[in-house]
């Protein structure tokens, strides 16, 4: 079994998107999501599409990587499209066959919804995963949420937990592959038999994996304590985040995008979702 973790992986680079402040990236991602859900008609979608394509170009990532990242969502997108095509009611059916009636509005609606799903995934992964290291992301999140620590929310601890969890995903995947190979060498069979048999076959993988995860957790805790880790209090940072001109500019562009979408919704009525 080969595990595909292309989706959600950081891609090395030095584009404008890579250099944006992670805090700004989190904020603009939220704004982008709001904008894409406000978009109501074809023209608003065209604007969003243009912006998303511009993002892809700006990131200087290969299109293959981005399309590969969309693969896991393809099924949901297609499923939604089919539902919309068959169940959307319009004025006049384009095709009427037995109980199936397909309307022009249904087709457009399906297209827009699929587009929305794909753009949503592309843009969010573009901001948050492809161009941002997990460490930068959790740092940004921690600082954005830091006001909450005033009311007693352990923001630093959550951020640290998230960093550690992300850090160990590749390690655990590698470990799983090793254990699987070891059990296969003893004749374990993961790919045949019924559901119960397959579920049982997982036991020899899960147990050693848990044991090693606990061992690693213990080792890590000891190592952190050896370096005098006592939580977030009084901790200084090597890389202090500073929002610069480009960060403000980008935020402005996203706000303008949102405003554009609202204006189009009001003044340019078209096929709406």
């Amino acid at each position: 079994m080969k595990m595909d973790i292309a989706f959600g992986q950081y891609c090395e680079g030095n584009s404008l998107l890579h250099r944006l402040d992670p805090r700004v990236k989190i904020i603009i991602t939220i704004l982008y999501i709001v904008a894409i859900f406000m978009a109501k008609n074809v023209f608003a979608f065209a604007l969003m599409l243009a912006f998303t394509v511009a993002l892809v170009i700006m990131s200087r990532l290969s299109v293959r990587v981005i399309l590969g990242g969309l693969k896991p969502i393809m099924f949901i997108a297609l499923f939604t499209a089919v539902i919309n095509i068959f169940f959307y009611k319009g004025d006049e059916p384009l095709v009427a066959f037995w109980v199936i009636k397909i309307y022009k509005e249904g087709l457009i609606n399906a297209g827009l919804i699929v587009l929305r799903i794909l753009m949503l995934l592309t843009a969010t992964s573009m901001f948050l995963t492809y161009t941002t290291t997990p460490i930068a992301l959790t740092d940004g999140l921690e600082q954005l949420l830091s006001p909450l620590s005033k009311i007693g929310v352990p923001v630093h601890d959550f951020a640290m937990m998230m960093t550690i969890a992300l850090r160990f995903i590749p390690t655990l995947i590698e470990e799983t592959e090793k254990i699987m190979n070891a059990q296969k060498a003893r004749g374990a069979d993961f790919s045949s038999g019924g559901l119960v048999k397959r579920a049982k076959a997982i036991v020899p993988i899960i147990i050693p994996l848990f044991v090693s995860a606990f061992r690693r957790a213990g080792d890590l805790a000891t190592a952190m304590e050896c370096r005098c880790y006592t939580g977030g209090k009084g901790r200084t940072r090597m890389n202090v985040l500073r929002a610069g001109a480009r960060d403000f500019l980008f935020t402005f562009v996203i706000i303008a995008l949102g405003a554009g979408v609202i204006l189009i919704n009001i003044y340019a009525p078209g096929y709406s979702v």
């Binding site: 254990i179 070891a182 059990q183 060498a185 004749g187 374990a188 069979d189 147990i207």
Partner: protein
């Protein structure tokens, strides 16, 4: 005698991506009988090579034959290969999972579809190798010491009665006493059962003391193949690929430079000691 034959084997990782690596290049090998050592620097392809033997990794090109049969020719033959060429991976104690030592050792034989009687026989025979007292069979493998855990993991593979016992760094992370006892145990097992043993290691000392034949790998190729004296006499080439000769061989060579010639074919400490005693007329003894 069982025979393992690799012909024209190539293996390429991540083909077609920027991370493409040619891990094995045109490997032609015939192994059968005795104890064969495979040495090589990190990344020389030795671990990939041993995973070819039992069909864990499928060669990009070339054939792997066990007793004359291509293991990739038919679908169920790969599974047979797993039982014929028992592979003990690095740090095998991390794959223990069952609630008792007995159950863990029985995992392999049960996967072979043997009767409970036969499984029981094999587990007990293999447990004799791990030198655990009979009452320990009902204990959890997680309660054992590190060295004992490794023996249990080894017993789990031995219980499958493989024609080949393939071990990837069986002594890694053990102290000198643990090394000697595990490697000595393996050597004895091979001799008594007639199993062909293949050991991967990068310890020249272990290779010299336990192996009849040594295969040297460097950047995916077999660059040397022969007995201890054939391999260790090519000192400069070994250094060139980041390997070494046993320490005692270097000492012997330094001694001969200073006029005390105990020969160049000194590979184990015991042999060197004997030779020196002989030369010093047994005074030291």
């Amino acid at each position: 005698m069982a025979e393992l034959e690799l012909s024209g084997v190539n293996y390429i990782y991540n083909k077609g991506t920027p991370y493409e690596t040619h891990a094995l290049k045109d490997i032609n090998l015939k192994i059968g009988g005795g104890i064969t050592g495979i040495i090589g620097h990190t990344g020389s392809g030795k671990s990939t090579l041993v995973q070819m033997f039992n069909g864990l990794v499928k060669p990009t090109s070339g054939t792997v034959k066990l007793d004359g049969e291509d293991i990739w020719e038919k679908k169920d033959r790969v599974r047979e290969a797993r039982f014929k060429a028992g592979l003990v991976m690095q740090y095998p104690e991390y794959q223990l999972f069952a609630s008792t030592v007995y159950e863990d050792i029985a995992f392999g034989p049960r996967n072979m579809g043997l009767s409970e009687e036969e499984v029981d026989k094999r587990v007990r025979a293999a447990a004799a190798f791990s030198k655990l007292p009979p009452e320990a069979m009902a204990r959890s493998p997680f309660d054992l010491s590190g060295g004992q855990k490794r023996r249990v993991a080894l017993a789990g593979v031995i219980a499958m009665n493989p024609a080949f016992l393939v071990l990837d760094e069986p002594a890694a992370g053990l102290d000198p006493g643990g090394r000697r006892s595990i490697l000595g145990g393996i050597k004895e097992f091979g001799k008594n059962s007639g199993t062909s043993v293949i050991i991967v290691s990068h310890s020249m000392e272990d290779m010299a003391s336990y192996c009849d034949r040594i295969i040297v790998m460097a950047s995916g190729r077999v660059i040397m193949d022969g007995n201890c004296s054939e391999v260790f006499s090519r000192y400069n080439e070994l250094i060139g690929v980041g390997l070494d000769v046993p320490q005692v061989t270097r000492i012997a060579s330094a001694l001969s430079h200073r006029g005390l010639d105990i020969g160049r074919d000194v590979y184990t400490v015991g042999y060197a000691a004997g030779k020196l005693c002989e030369m010093l007329d047994g005074d030291v003894k």
